[in-house]
């Protein structure tokens, strides 16, 4: 089955998120209170190694498994959406301790209440789709 590699990668992601405690509401609170290096260490290591990997992929023009050149798409150079959207996201992140990945990992971990947060995030996404053309970006 072609999709199996994505499920396997997802399983790995879920295990990493849970075992690193990045899905923990407590850890997110600790991060926003600057009381531990833990979360900064995770993000910092990931971004540092990620930057090196992206640089090497571009430099050596690495191809993907379908033999296509791996290309990176630049983000739109608008600012309002990133500042305002980002801040709204942050409000929810600190309140629930969950970003879109970890909320699903948490469901697997056994926190059923996360289903309500997921339902809320779907409502929020739907609401964005409705008002998208009426709000500044």
């Amino acid at each position: 089955m072609k999709g199996l590699k994505y499920i396997t990668t997802g399983i790995l992601f879920g295990i990493i998120m849970a075992k690193s405690e990045a899905i923990s509401w407590y850890r997110i609170q600790e991060m926003f209170r600057f009381q531990s290096f833990h979360m900064y260490g995770i993000i910092g290591t990931a971004v540092t190694l990620g930057t090196i990997a992206v640089y090497l992929i571009k430099k050596f023009r690495i191809r993907d498994t379908q033999d296509n050149l791996i290309v990176f798409h630049d983000k739109d150079r608008t600012w309002f959406r990133y500042i305002i959207g980002g801040t709204i996201f942050g409000l929810g992140w600190a309140l629930t301790g969950a970003c879109p990945g970890p909320m699903f990992v948490n469901v697997g971990y056994g926190y059923g209440a996360m289903l309500l947060i997921i339902f809320g995030s779907l409502l929020g996404t739907y609401f964005y789709g409705v008002v998208k053309d009426k709000i500044p970006h």
């Binding site: 407590y26 990133y82 980002g86 969950a98």
Partner: protein, 185 residues
């Protein structure tokens, strides 16, 4: 080996493993970003009939739904065969800060006080979890990505817009943590 994996993982192992996930998806010809699944799920629920934003071919995102499904399975594995017997090592300062908010540290990943059935079924608790989710979903789509898409994929590709979004994540997080949480709890 299993005993070693059962321990809580140090930050450098986890950071390296997340970078590995990102590279693996790039090698598969995809890009690491979880929140776009929320849009796809809206489309699957039929939102495309009413709102143009959701009217797209969801099959192009099937791989990401499978990834998300896998992450739930990963959570199950982490909570069973890989479960640590040790309580979470939260910093003393955080334990004390949360105590003043009336939230007790119970050594688990998430406080039962906020994610247990009692809180969930109270009107206030229901509202907090629902509104929190709405903010995450709306904010992620408005900002064009979440922590995986912007903080990991975007920053690794040195995208300034992603840096701005990540600064926004922190501004919002700090406002909630330091000004709003004391009012809410």
């Amino acid at each position: 080996m299993l005993e070693l994996l059962k321990q809580p993982w140090p930050w450098y192992t986890s950071g390296a493993a997340i970078a590995f996930i990102m590279v693996l998806l790039l090698l598969y010809g995809k890009s690491f970003g979880v929140s776009s699944n929320l849009r796809t799920l809206c489309t699957l629920a039929g939102a495309g009939k009413k709102v143009k934003f959701f009217d797209f071919n969801w099959r192009t995102q099937k791989w990401n739904l499978l990834f998300l499904f896998g992450s739930v399975l990963g959570g199950i594995i982490a909570a069973t065969v890989l479960k640590s017997e040790h309580p979470l090592q939260l910093s003393e300062a955080t334990v004390n800060d949360l105590q003043t908010l009336g939230i007790n540290f119970d050594g688990q990943l998430n406080p039962a006080q906020l994610f247990g059935p009692v809180f969930f079924s109270s009107p206030k608790g229901f509202l907090i979890l629902l509104v929190g989710g709405i903010l995450v979903g709306f904010g992620a789509r408005y900002a064009g990505g979440c922590t995986s898409g912007h903080a990991i994929s975007g920053l690794s590709n040195l995208q300034i817009p992603s840096l701005v979004a990540v600064v926004g994540f922190f501004v919002g997080g700090l406002i909630m943590t330091h000004f709003l949480l004391p009012l809410i709890f």
